[in-house]
Every structure is written in structure tokens, then in C-alpha cells.
């Protein structure tokens, strides 16, 4: 089913869901909020938004979404996580809350709040491999960075010597928040990945 407009869910337990829905629609996808297992089942791809990663993980566990999320990601569902979403897609995390769980999927270790507290939050231009047309607008808010990656993970961008955008197969993650800018090129990249994923799992 190589649908012209894949249905992409945005995990809507907490965070900047509306901005991701708008960015996905601007990039040509049909986008819907996902809060329940049956809504996840209808999505061909998923965005895990920015937000508070400990809150999102707790709500996902409490409402029976964590295991279905892990199963879908293992089965090859395309997924993109920004900031908190990057943490949730990481196999391992550092500086998490007590016993903080993740969905996992990307063979990487992510350090939570690595760029510091809110006073250190910043904007900077970021060159992302595979995204043409010049650097993207990087908005980093209490942002994580990628501490280390496994062999299958491609680092797409770095800031201050730390990976801040990565891809592994159908999974994409950024430390920063393209959804807070008018620049939808990363969402367009993900929608393209989701189209490829829908065409047949490699």
C-alpha cells in the first residue's frame, strides 16, 4: 500500500502535539493524534513529540501503550522523535528519572537535559545530512544529546561536537524542535521515510 498520503500518528499523551500535527500536514501527510492502542494500530508511522519524557513514558505505561509501541517499532513502523521523543526512541538513556522507561528502537545512548537547564536553552543553525537548502533552524530546549551510537546508526547532524540528529532504518530522532519553526524540511524527510516504509519493510 504505497498511499500518496500516509497516515501518521502523533503520540498525544503530553507535549507539543499540535505543532507536530501542523508540520506533518504541511509536509503532505494525513496526521492524527494517538492516545490509545487502537489509534496506534491505525497509524502507518508515528511522531513522538517534544514534552516531558518522564511524563510521556509514565502515561504510555499506564494506558497500555508502551508494549504496543515497542512491538510496532520492532516490526518496522517508521517513527520520528524530537527532544523528549528522541529520549523515548533511545535504547539506553543517561540522567533519566528513577526507573524511566523508553520505547527504544534506535541503538544509541541519549543523555537527558545534556545541553543544560532552561537558561542554557538556545537557537542555532544546524546542518543536517540529507536535508538540502541550507541549515535548519535548531531550537534546543533543555535538550538531550546522543552520547554514543551503535554501528547501524547514521549521525545526520552534530552541535558542539555532539550528535543531535540520527537515523537508523525507518527511525529518525532530533535533539531540537523543528515543529516550533516554520521550517518543515525534517518533517518532509520523515514523511518520505514513512512512504518508503509503507511501500514495504526492508
Amino acid at each position: 500500500m504505497s498511499s500518496a498520503s500516509p497516515v501518521i500518528g502523533v503520540l498525544a499523551l503530553q507535549g507539543d502535539v499540535r505543532e507536530h500535527l501542523a508540520a506533518l500536514r504541511a509536509a503532505g501527510a494525513e496526521a492524527r493524534p494517538v492516545r490509545r492502542p487502537e489509534e496506534l494500530a491505525e497509524a502507518g508511522g508515528l511522531v513522538v513529540p517534544g514534552g516531558e519524557s518522564t511524563t510521556i513514558a509514565k502515561l504510555a505505561a499506564a494506558f497500555g501503550l508502551l508494549e504496543p509501541l515497542r512491538a510496532r517499532v520492532r516490526a518496522g513502523m517508521p517513527a520520528y522523535g524530537s527532544c523528549a521523543g528522541m529520549i523515548l526512541l533511545a535504547d539506553k538513556i543517561l540522567d533519566g528519572g528513577d526507573g524511566q522507561e523508553t520505547v527504544g528502537g534506535i541503538d544509541m545512548t541519549v543523555r537527558r537535559n545534556a545541553f543544560g537547564r532552561q537558561n542554557e536553552s538556545f537557537e542555532a543553525a544546524v546542518d543536517v545530512a540529507g536535508v538540502g537548502g541550507g541549515p535548519v533552524e535548531g531550537v534546543f530546549i533543555r535538550a538531550p544529546w546522543v552520547e554514543s551510537t551503535g554501528a547501524g546508526v547514521e549521525v545526520l547532524a552534530e552541535h558542539a561536537g555532539h550528535p543531535v540528529a540520527v537515523r537508523q532504518g525507518a527511525l529518525l530522532a532530533t535533539s531540537f524542535h523543528p515543529e516550533l519553526t516554520g521550517d518543515h524540511r525534517l518533517h518532509a524527510l520523515f514523511v518520505e521515510m514513512a512512504r518508503g516504509g509503507a511501500a514495504g519493510h526492508r
Binding site: 502535539v17 492516545r35 511524563t55 540522567d95 528513577d98 532552561q118
Partner: protein, 304 residues
């Protein structure tokens, strides 16, 4: 006024409108809880709070004790920052920009210039553009919200009537803000100048609200939320998230109530889930009927 963030700087830049307002966007759909000790902060984090508000006394106790309410002890704020990994907010008095400078120096993630504390200036609020740390401010109506945004606030909350456990004032303020936004939407563009004069707010912000159909910053509810249904009510009325003050740690079983309010805030439009999480919560805070409060004890009247 940097109300519409534009292009990205070549060298990293902190304290921009986009990172200040963007921080509040990350809190949406969540619950921010008042805490007075590191232990309470841990309970809040474990219950799923998106942030905590570090305070010396919750508003219910500020009401009971009387006297001048000020910024909290830096030791107490640092203790809470050290205890949790989620964002920590703290309150300064209205117009007390030195308390705000201290809170910024302590590394808090958001400053609440709050009417719950005793105002330090009866004419001016703090210039919030002068800070790297973003500010949230209370409002009872649209004009007040826009005046705070014009001063640099990156997030707005209803004032409600803090420390009463009574949601009636938060409902009034949220309905007021939402209906005034609706009225602006219906105006002809020629009428927006007069509307700005009536609202006592800058024309550019009035125009932006008329175009967007919402505030240019995140809008939360605060003041009087005591139950999961209260939190869901505020969200159904258009609040993008909820502050809970005395309602959690003045109740019989704070951990359970806190987790229930978090769940009801996410599933605010699903009465079955709200019913489920509302069972077995123990005693809610007793609360105060706002119409028995003397004018001088109404915190919502503070701020201008």
C-alpha cells in the same frame, strides 16, 4: 517587541522568544504541581508532573498564616532542583525584579511573577525581556494577558483564586479570556485599534490574537483545581494544561490524587477515564467558598 520569532542566529543564542515560549509548548497537556519540600517534589515527579513550582508555603497556608508572602529561601529551591529531573519553577512577587534576578541566578527554569505573593510594586510588573529565564504570569481577562505578554511573559495562566480549592474563579477567568478572543475574531480590521484601546493592550498583539484566534503564548489554568474533574473541566474550557497548588498536598492521599489529576488532564475529554481515576482518592482539600472571601483577601485583584 519580538512577538513573531523569525530566523535562526548563526551563533547559538539563549533567551530568545522562541526558546522561552517553546519551553511552555513542551509543558502542554501536563500538570505543574506546587511543592514545598524535596520529598513532595519527588512525589510530584513520580506521579507524572511536567514541572514543579517550588514554594515555601502552598497558597492555602499563605492564606491561613497571613503576613507578607515573599520569594522562597534559596536553600529550599536548590534542594528541590537537586531532587528532581523535571523543570523547576519558582515565584517572585509582582514587580520585584530583584527576586526574579535571584531566581534566575539559582537556575530555575521558569519564573512565576505571582499575585499569590504580596506585590512589591502596585504600578509596575517586572520587565521580563531583561531576563534569560522565561516568565509565566496570571491574568483574569484578555487585556491583562496581553499587557503581561507585552512586558515579555512567555506563558499565561488564569489567576483563579489560589488556595481556595474552589475552581469557580479559574472558570470565570478562562471563559473571559476565551470569549474576548472570540469577540476579537469577529471584528472588522478597522475596529481592532479601538479594541486595543479598550483592552489597554498594544495594537500589534491585539491584531495577532485576532489573526491566530488564540494567545501567541501557551495558556494554562491555575487557581482552585482540587480534583481530576476540575483539571479536565479547565482543559475542556480551553486551558492547554493545569497548575495545581494546594489541591494535591492539602489532600488525604497526595501521590494518588496527583497521578489521577495527571491522567485526567491527558484524557480530559474521556469521562470514563475521568470516572475511573476519580475513585478512591481519599479526602479532597476542604476548600473555601470564594463569595465569603473579603475583597482584601482576593489574590486575583492583585496585578494591573
Amino acid at each position: 517587541m519580538s512577538s513573531t520569532p523569525t530566523s535562526t542566529p548563526a551563533t547559538p543564542e539563549t533567551g530568545t522568544a522562541r526558546v522561552k515560549r517553546g519551553m511552555a509548548e513542551q509543558l502542554k497537556g501536563g500538570v505543574i504541581m506546587d511543592v514545598v519540600t524535596p520529598e513532595q517534589a519527588k512525589i510530584a515527579e513520580d506521579a507524572g508532573a511536567v514541572a514543579v513550582m517550588a514554594l515555601e508555603r502552598v497558597p492555602a497556608d499563605i492564606r491561613k498564616d497571613g503576613g507578607v508572602a515573599r520569594m522562597s529561601d534559596p536553600d529550599m529551591i536548590e534542594g528541590i532542583i537537586g531532587a528532581v529531573s523535571i523543570p523547576v519553577m519558582a515565584k517572585s512577587r509582582i514587580g520585584h525584579f530583584v527576586e526574579a534576578q535571584v531566581l534566575q541566578a539559582l537556575g530555575v527554569d521558569y519564573i512565576d511573577e505571582s499575585e499569590v505573593l504580596t506585590p512589591a510594586d502596585e504600578v509596575n510588573h517586572s520587565d521580563k525581556f531583561a531576563f534569560t529565564t522565561p516568565f509565566v504570569c496570571g491574568a483574569t481577562n484578555l487585556g491583562e494577558a496581553l499587557r503581561r505578554i507585552a512586558e515579555g511573559a512567555a506563558m499565561i495562566r488564569s489567576k483563579g483564586e489560589a488556595g481556595t480549592g474552589n475552581v469557580v474563579e479559574a472558570v470565570r477567568h478562562l471563559r473571559q479570556i476565551r470569549s474576548e478572543i472570540g469577540r476579537l475574531r469577529a471584528l472588522d480590521h478597522n475596529e481592532l485599534y479601538a479594541a486595543a484601546k479598550d483592552l489597554r493592550a498594544p495594537y500589534e498583539l491585539v491584531k495577532e490574537v485576532a489573526d491566530l484566534g488564540k494567545l501567541p503564548v501557551v495558556l494554562f489554568s491555575a487557581g482552585g483545581v482540587a480534583t481530576p474533574a476540575d483539571a479536565a473541566l479547565m482543559r475542556q474550557l480551553g486551558a492547554e494544561g493545569v497548575f495545581v497548588g494546594s489541591g494535591i498536598f492539602k489532600s488525604g492521599d497526595p501521590a494518588t490524587r496527583a497521578a489521577a489529576i495527571v491522567k485526567a488532564t491527558t484524557f480530559y475529554d474521556d469521562p470514563k477515564i475521568i470516572a475511573e481515576v476519580s475513585r478512591g482518592l481519599g479526602e479532597a482539600m476542604v476548600g473555601i467558598n470564594c463569595d465569603t472571601l473579603p475583597e482584601t483577601e482576593r489574590y486575583a485583584n492583585r496585578g494591573w
